[in-house]
Amino acid sequence: MFNIILALANKRDIPIGEAVNISVTGIVVVMLVLALLAVLVLLLSKGIRAVESAAKKRNGKKADSESAEAKPAEPSKPVGTALPESASAGDLDLYNVDEKTAAVIMAIVSNESGIPLNRLLFKSIKAIEK
């Protein structure tokens, strides 16, 4: 054993003790640098996420306050003379339907939909042949 150690000591350009020292220092340096990096990444991530969530909250609050402050848009004024509730606008084409039946159909649609007749626009009413 002693001979081997002696032979090693003679042949090596660095002593074994120094080689061990370099190896241990080497792994410690790698661990330290990467551990430092890990801590930095952790802090950085937390910082960035905090900034991002604060910005999100700020934007959210701003949007809420803007929507609260904003006045509801005024309805556009009707142009021209308003139609009576019982009247309907536009031209209506009737196909094989008399005016009385057409008036009944329009009244039913208005009643069923809950929309006054003056806000409905009928284009045509066509009788379907059986």
Partner: protein, 398 residues
């Protein structure tokens, strides 16, 4: 001149007569590597050009001729020679010798790497550090190998170059060796790349040996989403921190992080695309062929090469063990939240080592998906091996 004489003369000047037995052995080795690359598909993008460079230089050694002794370590200087009289692969080899190719490859690796899994779990960095254990164990083995009878052993610079094989990072091994022990570049590069290709065979038995079935079945929580800002700031922070601590690591790590910034910044898509594809492919071809061409039989086949191959394998094994054991420790600390199989991915070799963790994990728990968890230590290993190389260069590069 008779036809017979002409045929005899052609035969005498042919490679059949001029090649040594070492060249023939290396030609057979190159066939073996070509088989592994083409049939077994072991890292074919690297192994194929390396094997073909090896084949070329052993059939026609003058393809690496160096009459001006620009980068050779044996032979005589021809005073009448011009730089262009050198063999064509020797001229291309200047890119390896000057560390240009390894650094460009690192830029490409950076452009291809998503550090998201590492940012989502910074603990991965510790696994990437622990998996560098093999480097320092191999350094000690290389130094101690001088005690063997009939073996001269290695100098400290040679031992450091051999040890870096344990980083499982080809460009880093070439970069460090070309600066500390350029005469060993051939065997070290061939060993590093061959073992990287053989990771699916080397790692699983070690992973199995060091973990219990219960540990291998551990299912890990899903990683959080990483913001774009984190991904952009990360390469800048790593560059500043690591280069300030270990300035010698600047060429490798700087290029790695530059490539990554190309990818993540979102404003240099064209540069990122070039680094990931065209540039990477071009440099891989030139690097692979010329590294393979350094394995000329007469200089490659000796006792030192065999020792390098053995120590390289041990370095890989110890690095894998270091990563797995540290992951086991983290598993204990986090009370069963870390699957120790991801530790082996800390040996770089992106993404091969992470894939091995994924495949092994699914063998024991089919619903387990470890790939993204293993990518963290995997990319951390690239940084870890670069830092280890920087430390060795700082220690022995004077």
């Amino acid at each position: 001149m008779s036809v017979v004489n002409a045929i005899v003369e052609i035969f005498q000047e042919s490679g059949f007569m001029s090649l040594s037995w070492q060249n023939w052995v290396m030609i057979l080795v190159s066939f073996g590597l070509l088989y592994l690359a083409i049939v077994k598909k072991f890292e074919p993008l690297l192994l194929l050009p390396i094997a073909f460079g090896m084949l070329l230089v052993n059939i026609y050694p003058d393809i690496m001729a160096d009459p001006l002794m620009m980068s050779s370590y044996e032979g005589t200087v021809d005073p009448n020679a011009h730089w262009y009289d050198a063999g064509v692969l020797r001229l291309i080899y200047a890119g390896v010798k000057s560390s240009i190719f390894p650094c460009l490859i690192f830029m490409a690796v950076g452009a291809m790497t998503d550090f998201g899994p590492l940012l989502a779990n910074p603990m991965s960095l510790l696994l990437g550090a622990a998996a560098q254990l093999g480097i320092y164990v191999a350094f000690m083995i290389a130094i101690l190998s001088g005690g063997l009878p009939f073996f001269d052993g290695f100098t400290a610079k040679e031992a450091a170059s051999i040890a870096i094989i344990g980083g499982a990072d080809g460009p880093t091994a070439i970069w460090l060796t070309s600066q500390l022990a350029p005469h060993l570049l051939g065997p070290i590069a061939v060993a590093a790349y061959s073992y990287m290709a053989l990771i699916p065979l080397i790692q699983p038995p070690i992973m199995k040996l060091l973990t219990t079935k219960k540990e291998r079945e551990i299912k890990m929580d899903q990683l959080r989403t990483v913001s774009k800002a984190e991904k952009i700031i990360f390469p800048i922070v790593v560059t500043v921190l690591c280069v300030l601590i270990l300035p010698s690591v600047a060429p490798l790590l700087g290029m790695l992080m530059l490539g990554n910034l190309f990818r993540e910044s979102g404003v240099t898509d064209r540069l990122s695309d070039t680094a990931q594809n065209a540039l990477c492919n071009i440099v891989t071809i030139l690097l692979g062929v010329t590294v393979g061409a350094t394995a000329e039989g007469k200089t490659f086949l000796d006792l030192k090469t065999i020792a390098i191959i053995i120590i390289g394998l041990l370095a890989f094994a110890f690095s894998t063990a270091g990563g797995v054991l540290f992951a086991k420790l983290l598993n204990v600390i986090t009370r069963g939240k870390i699957n120790p199989l991801i530790g082996s991915a800390g040996v770089s070799a992106v993404p091969m080592a992470a894939r091995v963790s994924q495949v092994e994990g699914r063998k024991y728990n089919p619903s387990n998906f470890l790939l993204m968890h293993a990518m963290g230590p995997n990319v951390a290993g690239v940084i870890g091996s670069a830092v280890a190389a920087g430390f060795l260069l700082m220690t022995f590069g004077k």
